[in-house]
């Protein structure tokens, strides 16, 4: 019975990481002091909370990332099957290639419009 190599690898990696964590936890010395327990702020006493609200820009970037990443997921299957070398039957048949080409151009154009809109709205401007 052969286990999929990926699972074996994941198992080995988890073993490696956990062993490392436990090893250093057990072997290393331990001495708690009040100063060591503080958040590090270059030697000053920490002021306020680290978990503050952050700039909405990061959120916009995340949303745009989502849009483009999903778009990439659509592009991969097309890219693999669109122009297969001669003799491989699994690709897009030759008579449909023109149509697919047109569709992809429209798809990209839509994307470019969205991209230009985001640019105009100043999503890519940092400050």
């Amino acid at each position: 019975m052969e286990i999929p190599p990926l699972l074996v690898y994941v198992g080995a990696l988890i073993g490696f990481v956990v062993t490392n964590m436990i090893l250093t936890h057990v072997i290393g010395p331990r001495k708690k002091t009040a100063v060591k327990d503080m958040p590090y702020e270059s030697g000053m006493d920490p002021v306020g909370d680290a978990r503050q609200p952050f700039d909405v820009k990061f959120y916009l970037v995340a949303i745009l990332f989502l849009v483009f990443d999903v778009e990439l997921l659509f592009l991969y299957p097309w890219a693999v099957s669109a122009y297969l070398p001669e003799g491989q039957a699994s690709g897009i048949p030759a008579e449909l290639r023109g149509t697919v080409f047109g569709v992809m151009l429209v798809f990209m154009a839509t994307l470019v419009i969205a991209y230009a809109y985001a640019w105009k709205k100043g999503v890519f401007k940092w400050r």
Partner: protein, 417 residues
């Protein structure tokens, strides 16, 4: 609870009815032997390579900055990595009182795990004539190899953001916020730059991409037809690995250690390991995708069998990868760090439009059956156009800046008149 255990056992027995009673642990391990040997070799090689890459990097940095570098432990400091490793284990493992313990411990695990997992589909040797007990790629013949690497690679951002949030430290929080924005921004040009290769070769399988180039000879290395994609891929991958000049995540002057400020001993080492493993992986990817992998005309050709050619191919691949790693290290001390707005601008305003234009160029050339050498020309053209526009924009910004500065200088004077 006690009634559940028998039920579970019968369930398990039902689930594997065909398995003979004598599937012993020994047999099970024997069946995984090629996998286990490959994993052992790969992990050992990566860990060894990481520790000595750090040594090489320190020596190289010392050389570039006219210093001596590590030279105390062993001859020429060659035992330095071992001393460092021992120290990482023996040092105190500090967990500050204000952190979120579970996530704090989870973050370095995720960081190391994901980057090393991405290495699973990378062929680190000639797969076609590998010895029978060992096969030079941990998970062979994955058809979605590139997508797998990118998917796992974007999981690495969890390690960073969990580490930053759990630390409850302002430096960490800011660093992880920057890191996540940076990593997801560069993910897009990274993914788009390989679309050209997927179109040209009709596959995302790294072994097949390598074979395509090996069979086609040096002229079919994708670097020649996709130089722009190669550049975009390299820059984006470098940014993904958070190394200088893209290491805004941990830029020492502003954020101390960035997201791993609060980490010590082995937990810090795991973050470090993750970064270097990432560098190794992207070097392998650059070589395999654009520079023909183990292929080199006259030295390592496809179709040769036996032990000698195998060693040659391994040697060629390793030298190419090492060359890329050296380039990455040299870049570190050559280009100053980017400002954050420049960094995001580079991803969103330069790399993404360029890679998109590249994809359109490739699909147009393939659709109309033109020679792929037109792509070389388009790449160079696109690159020059981008450079031209960039220089002009910089000039405009500079002029505006000086005008603003001038009007500021003369402002009070003009007012007085």
């Amino acid at each position: 609870m006690s009634s559940m255990i028998p039920t579970l056992m019968t369930l398990a027995a039902d689930a594997v009815p065909a398995a003979p009673a004598a599937v012993s642990v020994v047999d099970l391990v024997k069946a995984q032997l090629p996998t286990l040997i490959t994993i052992g070799a790969a992990l050992g090689a990566v860990l060894g390579a990481v520790s000595y890459l750090i040594y090489v990097e320190r020596k190289l940095a010392a050389f570039m900055q006219d210093r001596i570098g590590p030279n105390r432990v062993g001859p020429w400091g060659l035992l330095q990595p071992i001393a460092d490793g021992a120290k990482f284990i023996l040092k105190e493992d500090v967990i500050p009182a204000y952190v979120d313990r579970a996530l704090f411990l989870l973050a370095p695990c995720i960081a190391a795990l994901t980057t090393m997992l991405a290495f699973a589909v990378v062929p680190f040797g000639p797969v076609d004539n590998a010895p029978s007990f060992h096969r030079f790629v941990i998970v062979p013949n994955v058809d979605i190899g590139i997508v797998f690497i990118f998917a796992i690679g974007s999981l690495a951002v969890y390690g960073i953001i969990l580490g930053g949030w759990a630390s409850n430290n302002k430096y960490s929080a800011l660093g992880s916020l920057r890191a996540s924005a940076q990593v997801i921004s560069y993910e897009i040009p990274l993914g788009m730059s390989v679309l050209g290769i997927a179109l040209l070769g009709g596959t995302l399988n790294l072994e097949k991409i390598l074979m395509n180039q090996a069979i086609g000879g040096i002229g079919s290395w994708y670097f020649w037809t996709q130089p722009l994609a190669c550049l975009i891929f390299f820059v984006a991958a470098l940014a993904e690995s958070n190394r200088l000049p893209f290491d805004l995540v941990e830029c020492e002057q502003e954020l101390v250690g960035g997201f791993h400020t609060e980490y010590s001993s082995m937990k810090f080492a795991l973050f470090f390991l993750a970064e270097y493993t990432h560098v190794i992986t992207i070097s392998f990817l650059t070589v395999i995708l654009f520079f023909g992998g183990w292929h080199f005309p006259g030295i390592a050709e496809p179709g040769t069998a036996g032990f000698g050619p195998m060693l040659l191919k391994l040697g060629v691949l390793m030298s190419k990868v090492f060359a890329v790693i050296i380039v990455i290290m040299l870049l570190r001390w050559t280009i100053p760090r980017f400002r954050f707005d420049q960094l995001m601008g580079l991803a969103w305003k330069v790399l993404i439009p360029l890679s998109m234009a590249n994809v359109v160029a490739v699909m147009t050339v393939l659709q109309f059956g033109w020679s792929t050498w037109w792509l070389t020309l388009t790449s160079v053209g696109l690159f020059m156009a981008a450079g031209f526009i960039g220089v002009q924009q910089a000039q405009v910004a500079l002029n505006q800046g000086t005008r603003r500065a001038k009007s500021k200088d003369h402002g009070p004077v003009a007012h007085a008149h």
